[in-house]
Structure formats: structure tokens, C-alpha cells
Amino acid sequence: MSDNHGHDQGGAHVVPLQVYFGVFIALLVGTGLTTWVAYIDLGPFNTPIALVIAFIKMTLVILFFMHVKYQPGLTRIAIICAFFWLGIMMTLTLSDELTRGWEMNPQPWNVLVPHVTHLARFLF
């Protein structure tokens, strides 16, 4: 049982026990914090705070329990890509769902003519 950043016989990194327990405590604290904050009126900030804490917890699990901190960069790229693509799906879907109610205010094409003429006179 090594307490330093040793390596096993296959060359892979062995995470020290303190790191594991530290992450464990942090995760439990985060859970407690999320629950506690939910009972406090922070207006529109309740949800973002809960999500930020969840995001931090996820990062700790990924970096330490899943050993990504000690892995080559390709793993990190893969994870970031997956979340980025999820972000694309959410963003573009919401770009439709949230703008359906927007009013359309189409103008005829020649609404720009006075502006262009003015600009041309100004320039030339």
C-alpha cells in the first residue's frame, strides 16, 4: 500500500489514499451543501448554484476516481467533445423552443434604401 504517487507493476499511476478520502469528503460536503442551499431563498440563484456544485463534484470524480488527471490528453479531449456535443444539442434545440413566440417583423427590402443613400452621400 503506497501513500506516495507510486506506480504499480504495470506502470500505471497509483492514487494516494489521502486523495481518495479527500475527494470522498468533498463529494459528501457538496451534497450536503446542495441540500442545505435548497432550503434558503436565493431567488434565481438556487438552480445555478446547485448545478455549479454538481459540476464540481463531477469534475472531482472524473479527475481522481476515474484517474483522468493521470491519463494522456486524448481522454480529456474525448470527454470535452462529448459534453460539447451535448451542449450543441441543447443550445440549438432551445434556440428554436425559446424563440417560437418571438414576433416576426418583416420589412420590405427597400427599408434600407434611405440609409444606404445617406451613407453613400456621406462617403462620397
Binding site: W85, L92, D96
Partner: protein, 546 residues
């Protein structure tokens, strides 16, 4: 190539041990871990599915020679076009090149003994045929009439056809795609031969890598979409049904988030094949290797941000429509880059017109037409007129059939000697290629015209003024069918009676041609190759001697 051309005087394949005769019996095939045998298992399966999908199309075109319908009731017609679409998309085109040519060729082309996870490779085939079986159950228990797009709430609440069976089949086949994608990504990252850097890879590998990324990022979303559709259908709860608070457009968003990149799953491998064919049969290095490689990746990435162009007229907000329209124009650019590069490769090349090259040349022309017509559809104003008409049908058949299927046939012919150790009769192959080209254009060009003139798609009856065009299209379809039947016959024939093929019948560059016999042994190479030169390092035939 330091392990240069291992053109050992090749013993006839019957007497040399290769992957085909290394072991006999059905168990040795059904329990194989050899990527080459698994590729053949897939080849057999998708050929069968192609026949089912083709039969559906055959009945559709037969029905449409009369304006009032010549063959079936409208309800049955709805089932025919649904079955045709579902089978051709999910059970033929998506797996076609990746699972057959990809499985067979990738380890050979990168100098590996097998893929990274051979047992998972076999599992993916079993999962695939399970999906096929469920789809066939759906077909024979009454069919599905929702269109391959399964739009809600018709599919969930009003259809009363075998939607859940079909959705289950597609869901399960999707896992086969995911496992294939995982296998290919890991294989390409981790198992390249010494000296085979990323920028020395054949462009087919780049295309397969980009395709695998789409498999990985897109397929899970169609899986969850169909899962939710199934739950809505079975439990009558309002996820996508507006009557109970759902949003039908949410279904469309989630469906097309996969299904648009899916069309690039279908075309990217084809483009990879074309890069191989054009270089081999012009005996010339590809023009702009890096551009073609990066364009494959660009297509994979941009394909994920354009899906809303399928929803311009179904209720999507205009503002989202504007965004998707601009992005859809963007996705045409990397495809155009490839077409320019292939054409520039042909220029001053030493071109020969064997069957694979005929398919490749046909691809370039037909894919260009298909791709350009996509731009008409990407433009919001013209899409209002053209959406839901035969113009769309013609557009996607030009890219999928004139593009992907021709590339698939070209690839099958090109690698056939490597796969089977036999040559097919070249005269018949060229005749078939010509018949396919003619039949295809006669089938689908009239559809551009009828679509532009306003004939709607998915209709079992149509106004009499469109009959001439429909009859032309149906005539073309019968010619196309003959064009597809001929290779089926001579390729089968050649497996037994074709002349034995040399190791490198085309004189092509590539590890699969230069370092592996035809057909290869189970372990692919007698000596594992080491790569010392770039891809397509053809020596020029004009000018100095090398």
C-alpha cells in the same frame, strides 16, 4: 515501403492457408473473431436487407405508373415507402461500407492483425441481425406507415401499426453501430503500424474515423428518441403529443440531431472509397491530401449543427431556421473541397477505366448534382416551395444512391480480389456499371422535374399531368434493378469460378495491396509492415525514371 512489395510468387489460394480456408464449418464462421470474416457476415446480411428494401421500392414504382395508383391501396403504399426508407437507411446504408469494407480493410490498411476488440466486433454483428429480425417482424406483422421519420403524434398516438417493433429494431441496430464506432476509433488510434503517422494514413481511414465519430456522438440520441417514442406509444403519456402537453417538434429535433449526421455516416465512407479509387486508377498521388483529410473531419463536425433544415416548414421558429440555413450552406464547403481535389487528382493522371473507376467517376458527377441540389433546399425561401416534393426525394437519392451506393459498389469491386482471392469478369462489371448509371439517371432525374413542378412526395395518387415523368422514373427503376442484379450474379459466380487474383491486381499503393496476399491469412500479414513513405506514393509515369 521498406517491407516493399512482398510480391512473393503467390501460390494459388486453394493451396495456401488464408482466412477463408483456415477453418471450415458454420461454427468457425458464427464464432469467428476475425474482422475479415465478420465483414463478410455483414456483407451477406446487408445484401439480404437491400433486397427487402429494393422490393419495397419496386412495388412503389410499379404502383406509381398510374395517377390513381396501379397496385395497392393508399394505406399499403404508406407502408411501402416507410419500409423502403427504414430498411435502406438503417439496415443497409448506415452499415454498408463501415461494417463490410471498413471491418475488412481497416486493419489491413493500417498494418494491424485485427481490430482492437474482435469479440465486440462479433457481438456487434449479432446485435445487428437481432435488429434486422425485429424490423422484419415489424414488416410481416402488418408493417409501419409513419414514414421512416416516425413523426409524432401520428406515430405514437394515431398510427396503430407495428411502430414499437420497428423502433425496437432500429434501437438495437443502433447499438451495433455504436460498438463498431468504438472499435474503429480505438483501432485507428492505437494499432497503426510503426511509421504510420496520422498524415500517412490512407484517406479511407480518415473517412472511417470521421464516420466513427458520428456513430459515437449521434447514434445514442436516436436511441433515446426512439426509447421515448416507444414509451409514449405504450403508456399514452404526453412527451411529444401536443394534446397532452408535449411538443412534436421536440421529437423532430431529437430525431434529426442523429438523422442528419446519419446521412454523413452514409456518404463519408463512400468519399473515402472514392479517394482510394481515384488515386489507384489515375496512378497519381491525391491532390491536397491534408485538405481531403481535414474536410472529412469538418464534415463530421459541421454535420451536427445543421439538422434544423429538415424542419423549416414544420413549425420551427424562423430565427432558428435562419441559423440552420446559414450553417447548412457551410457544410457544403468541405464536400466541394473533396470534389475539387478528386478532379485535380484526375488531371494528368494515367487513367484506366476498370469497373471500380467507372463507379468512382459516376460518383463524382452524381454526388455533385445531389450536393448542389441540397443547397436549393438549404435556402429558406426555395425550401418552402420544394420541401415535401419529389425534388427532395431526387436530391437525397442522388447523394445516397448515385453517391453512396455507387461508392459501395466501386469499393466492393476494387477490394473483391483481396477479399476473395478471385477476379470478377471485368466486361460484365463495366456493362453493369453503365447500366446502373443510366438506370439511376432515368429513375431520378425526372423526379427533380416533377418535384419542382409541385408533385408531393409520399403520395399514393397524383395529378395526371405528372404521369409521363412517373412512367419514365419507373422505367429507369427497372433498368437500375437489372444493373444491381448483374453484379450479384457474377460476384457470386467469381467466388467459385473466377480466375485467382494476384496479390496486387491494380498495382495500387497501400499496405493491403503491397504487404498482404490475396486473400490474406487470418493474421493479415506474414511479416508485420513498417511504413516509411506517404500514402499514394505513385511514381510518375511521365518524365524521369524512378
Amino acid at each position: 515501403m521498406s517491407t516493399a512489395t512482398l510480391d512473393l510468387p503467390q501460390a494459388p489460394s486453394e493451396s495456401r492457408v488464408n482466412y477463408l480456408n483456415a477453418s471450415y464449418g458454420i461454427r468457425s464462421w458464427l464464432l469467428t473473431k476475425d474482422h475479415k470474416r465478420i465483414g463478410l457476415l455483414y456483407l451477406g446480411t446487408i445484401t439480404i436487407m437491400f433486397i427487402f428494401g429494393g422490393l419495397a421500392a419496386f412495388f412503389m414504382r410499379l404502383h406509381l405508373i398510374e395517377p390513381q395508383g396501379a397496385l395497392v391501396e393508399p394505406e399499403t403504399y404508406n407502408k411501402l415507402f416507410t419500409i423502403h426508407g427504414v430498411i435502406m437507411v438503417f439496415f443497409f446504408l448506415v452499415p454498408s461500407i463501415p461494417a463490410t469494407l471498413g471491418n475488412f480493410c481497416i486493419p489491413l490498411m493500417i498494418g494491424a492483425r485485427d481490430v482492437a476488440f474482435p469479440k465486440i466486433n462479433l457481438l456487434s454483428w449479432y446485435i445487428f441481425i437481432t435488429g434486422c429480425a425485429l424490423a422484419l417482424v415489424a414488416i410481416f406483422s402488418g408493417g409501419v406507415d409513419t414514414g421512416w421519420t416516425f413523426y409524432t403524434p401520428y406515430s405514437s398516438t394515431y398510427s396503430h401499426t407495428a411502430v414499437v417493433w420497428m423502433a425496437s429494431g432500429i434501437f438495437i441496430a443502433g447499438f451495433s453501430s455504436i460498438l463498431t464506432g468504438v472499435n474503429f476509433v480505438v483501432t485507428i488510434h492505437k494499432m497503426r503500424a510503426p511509421g504510420l503517422t496520422w498524415f500517412r494514413l490512407p484517406l479511407f481511414i480518415w473517412a472511417m474515423y470521421a464516420t466513427s465519430i458520428i456513430f459515437i456522438l449521434g447514434t445514442p440520441v436516436i436511441a433515446i428518441t426512439l426509447f421515448l417514442l416507444g414509451l409514449e406509444t405504450l403508456l399514452h403519456v404526453g412527451i411529444f403529443d401536443p394534446a397532452i402537453g408535449g411538443d412534436p417538434l421536440l421529437f423532430q429535433h431529437m430525431f434529426w440531431f442523429y438523422s442528419h449526421p446519419a446521412v454523413y455516416i452514409m456518404i463519408l465512407p463512400g468519399m473515402g472509397v472514392i479517394s482510394e479509387l481515384i488515386t489507384a486508377f489515375s496512378r497519381k498521388k491525391i491532390f491536397g491530401y491534408a485538405f481531403v483529410a481535414f474536410s472529412s473531419m469538418a464534415i463530421a463536425v459541421i454535420s451536427f449543427i445543421v439538422w434544423g433544415h429538415h424542419m423549416f416548414v414544420t413549425g420551427q421558429s424562423v430565427y432558428a431556421g435562419l441559423v440552420f440555413s446559414v450553417l447548412s450552406f457551410l457544410v457544403a464547403i468541405p464536400s466541394a473541397v473533396k470534389v475539387f481535389n478528386w478532379t485535380a487528382t484526375l488531371y494528368k493522371g494515367s487513367i484506366s477505366y476498370e469497373a471500380p473507376m467507372l463507379y468512382a467517376l459516376g460518383f463524382i458527377g452524381l454526388f455533385t448534382i445531389g450536393g448542389l441540389t441540397g443547397l436549393f433546399l438549404a435556402s429558406l425561401a426555395t425550401d418552402v416551395h420544394l420541401n415535401g416534393t419529389y425534388f427532395v426525394v431526387a436530391h437525397f437519392h442522388y447523394v445516397m444512391v448515385g453517391g453512396a451506393v455507387m461508392a459501395y459498389l466501386g469499393g466492393i469491386h476494387y477490394w473483391w480480389p483481396k477479399i476473395t482471392g478471385r477476379m470478377y469478369p471485368d466486361v460484365w462489371a463495366r456493362i453493369a456499371a453503365a447500366i446502373v448509371f443510366l438506370g439511376f439517371n432515368l429513375t431520378f432525374f425526372p423526379q427533380f422535374v416533377m418535384g419542382y413542378l409541385g408533385m408531393p412526395r409520399r403520395y399514393a395518387v397524383y395529378p395526371a399531368e405528372f404521369q409521363v415523368l412517373n412512367v419514365l422514373s419507373s422505367a429507369g427503376a427497372s433498368i437500375l434493378a437489372i444493373g444491381y442484379a448483374i453484379p450479384l450474379i457474377y460476384l457470386f459466380w467469381s467466388m467459385r469460378y473466377g480466375p485467382p487474383a494476384p496479390q496486387n491486381p491494380w498495382g495500387a499503393k497501400g499496405l493491403e495491396w503491397e504487404c498482404a496476399p490475396s486473400p490474406p491469412p487470418t493474421e493479415n500479414f506474414e511479416v508485420m509492415p513498417v511504413v516509411t513513405e506517404d500514402a499514394y506514393n505513385y511514381q510518375p509515369t511521365t518524365g524521369g525514371s524512378h
